[in-house]
């Protein structure tokens, strides 16, 4: 390789957890740094180089006018742009403001609301600029991030599985919490990546990796209703870290449109 790819790690509205997972890959960290040149990574280094970048890794959602501009500038100077985590790919938990009165929310928290310049929405990066690859999860899986970075550095496509969490439970031999315990579980419509953690902890999947491609929510919702779960319990389950991802959003709205529907 002529030179190491120049990588920028940039943060928007988020908890820092997804970029932290790079620093959490302790065993691989020094080796990854041999393959990639992190030229802008404020959480890790005081040397911040301007673009152009070969790969921009973006954490967080867009919640301010300034950030709408900042993401466009980053896109303009980056060859590839990878978004990481539920905030960057689906708007994150802060996207719940879509169902509230965000101006009222600001007035509730801040004594001087006129100083807060937050947008009424929290939107994914792909709503603003072209994104080359989306890596899901709240938080992301660090090994998947390393795979994506190494793949781009090597000029190949990342190899990231895209089946549902449900399949992972079958592979692991985890007893189905929905069948055996009657717990509402989003595993059948949620993307893999966590290793099907929650069912192994006796709880239903809460969808932190977002909807699986081609997920079919209505039959799952019907089964939840058949088991006796009320809409007021299911809507919060669908509206958390990936609340505005279309499949989860539509599923939540369908429950509210038909609160007693027991199809």
């Amino acid at each position: 390789m002529a030179r190491k790819p120049r990588v920028a790690v940039m943060k928007f509205a988020s908890c820092d957890g997804c970029q932290l997972s790079l620093l959490d890959a302790e065993d691989e960290l020094l080796a990854v740094c041999d393959r990639l040149d992190f030229v802008y990574f404020a959480e890790a280094s005081s040397v911040l180089q301007p673009g152009p970048y070969d790969i921009a890794v973006v954490e967080g959602s867009i919640t301010t006018v300034e950030d709408e501009q900042r993401i466009r500038e980053l896109r303009a100077c980056s060859t590839r742009l990878v978004t990481i985590g539920a905030c960057a790919t689906a708007g994150g938990i802060q996207a719940l403001r879509a169902w509230g009165d965000s101006q009222e929310w600001i007035r509730t928290i801040y004594p001087r609301p006129e100083y807060i310049h937050a947008l009424a929405t929290s939107t994914p990066i792909a709503a603003h600029v072209l994104v080359d690859y989306e890596l899901h999860g709240c938080p992301i899986n660090a090994h998947q991030l390393i795979e994506v970075l190494i793949a781009f550095a090597s000029g190949r496509s990342p190899n990231i599985p895209a089946h549902s969490v449900c399949l992972d439970c079958k592979r692991r031999g985890t007893v189905c919490v929905m069948v055996a315990r009657g717990q509402a579980c989003l595993g059948p419509i949620t993307r893999t990546g966590c290793g099907a953690l929650c069912p192994t902890y006796n709880r239903g999947c809460y969808g932190c990796f977002g909807p699986v491609d081609g997920g079919n929510a209505p039959p799952l919702l019907a089964e939840f209703r058949r088991q006796g779960h009320a809409a007021e319990q299911l809507v919060p389950l669908l509206r958390n870290f990936n609340a505005t991802a279309p499949l989860f959003r539509e599923a939540g709205e369908s429950l509210l449109d038909n609160p007693t529907d027991d199809r």
Partner: protein, 433 residues
């Protein structure tokens, strides 16, 4: 970047979250210094309203990817207080073990990758590793142990899934935890070596007359439970926190900052405060090490926070080993409760200091109101106060503007600020003078 009378550090590096620093001068004297937080607000307290109380630990964890366990701990303790749930000693011990994992992970990250590079003029932990390869590798291994422990209990290191109101969703697999004992035996010794290493660092001189504030418990080094102790004022129960610590907006910066009544004074949270106030409840190996490395009593040099962090890592390894060797998962892993209309408050010790949560819940088990006061918003006022002191002194010496800015940033970094804990943080309007 400097222009005439204003020195700007446009982005603070090696901290969690996004902030900046502006220093204004007038006639060569310090006019003002501001720690600017431009992290966009995410409004957690309002998005919790109307949700099932069971959602609080998973949602508040997302305030901070570095200290999710702290948010889970403060939220479940506050909600259990509201519900009248008294957890069993077995659940209590497992929560302490989980917190030990987060302290080790968070402290080892700050010590090795974020803070130590400053003492040697390096820009990052990666650069530092060229000079101190063994020490940085050791630090990464310590950090990994912390992550491994959180993952063994909670399924994953960031936003673990096992913490529940009333206890845990299940007891973690014993064999996963027992496997860690060998690593932790090595880690305890390695953590002591790391503490000795930091004792040799060249510390800048800066002393401040702090009010140290931390949770304190008569029988143990406080993490999850205790009263709120202070080096200057009397100890109060956690329930009285809202009466004594108030948030306000200051005219020059518009950031919500917390101050201590009655004098509306600044106060300091975090490892330095904890070690100063609770030193005699550190485990013997950590206490002896504190004496061996000559860690001063009531240490008031903020740069030495790194040593307090190292002592706490030693403590956390010692305590974790003790719990790991005597795992007791008898009794229920989760206690039942009946929803009722009530208010609950709790403070626990996040790696960066006291984290206060308050919830009002209704009879249907929904959250009516939530209030979350993270440690970094409480430390903001004290950080600015310390910056003023350092800069006022430096301006009497022949220090270049670039060095002023660099050293101011280093001072901010020594508090391990977590700006992502954006609950109360404002977007600052900045006007150049």
């Amino acid at each position: 970047m400097t222009d005439g009378e204003t020195i700007n550090v446009p982005i603070l590096t090696r901290v969690e979250g996004e902030g900046a620093l502006t220093i204004r001068l007038k006639d060569g004297q310090l006019d003002d210094v501001q720690l600017r937080i431009y992290e966009p607000p995410r409004m957690f307290e309002t998005l919790l309203r109307g949700r099932p109380l069971e959602d609080a630990p998973d949602i508040t964890a997302r305030i901070c990817g570095i200290c999710p366990v702290a948010y889970q701990m403060s939220s479940v303790h506050a909600l259990e207080q509201a519900l009248g749930v008294a957890i069993t000693p077995q659940i209590r011990r497992l929560r302490r073990l989980l917190y030990c994992g987060e302290w080790i992970e968070s402290h080892a990250l700050h010590v090795h990758l974020l803070h130590t590079p400053d003492f040697f003029g390096e820009s990052s932990g990666i650069e530092l590793a060229r000079r101190f390869p063994d020490e940085v590798r050791r630090g990464l291994r310590l950090k990994k142990h912390g992550n491994d422990l959180v993952a063994a209990i909670g399924g994953r290191a960031i936003h673990p899934v096992n913490v529940a109101v009333g206890g845990f969703h299940r007891w973690p697999p014993r064999e996963e935890l027992r496997k860690l004992i060998h690593d932790f035996e090595w880690g305890l010794q390695a953590a002591m070596e790391a503490a000795r290493w930091t004792a040799s660092f060249p510390y800048p001189q800066l002393e401040n007359d702090y009010e140290f504030v931390a949770v304190s418990h008569p029988d143990e080094y406080a993490m999850n439970e205790g009263d709120i102790a202070s080096s200057k004022l009397s100890t109060i129960p956690v329930d009285q926190y809202p009466m004594v610590f108030v948030e306000h907006q200051v005219p020059h910066s518009t950031a919500l900052q917390a101050v201590r009544l009655p004098a509306r004074s600044n106060y300091l949270l975090g490892p330095l405060s904890r070690v100063n106030l609770n030193r005699n409840r550190l485990r013997p190996e950590a206490r002896q090490l504190a004496d061996e490395i000559g860690f001063p009593a009531m240490c008031s040099n903020p740069y030495r926070g790194i040593q307090a962090r190292c002592l706490e890592v030693v403590h956390a390894y010692g305590e974790a080993l003790e719990i790991l060797r005597e795992l007791d998962f008898s009794g229920p892993h989760r206690l039942p409760y009946q929803a009722r209309a009530a208010v609950g408050r709790a403070a626990t010790e996040a790696p960066r200091g006291l984290l206060f949560h308050e919830y009002e819940i209704d009879a249907a088990g929904k959250i009516v109101q939530a209030r979350i006061v993270p440690p970094t918003s409480q430390n903001q006022g004290q950080i600015e106060c310390d910056l003023r002191k350092q800069l006022t002194w430096q301006l009497t010496t022949a220090t270049t503007r670039e060095a002023l800015a660099r050293q101011a940033e280093q001072l901010v970094r020594s508090y391990d600020p977590c700006i992502s804990c954006a609950t109360h943080f404002l977007k600052i309007q900045w006007k150049n003078s």
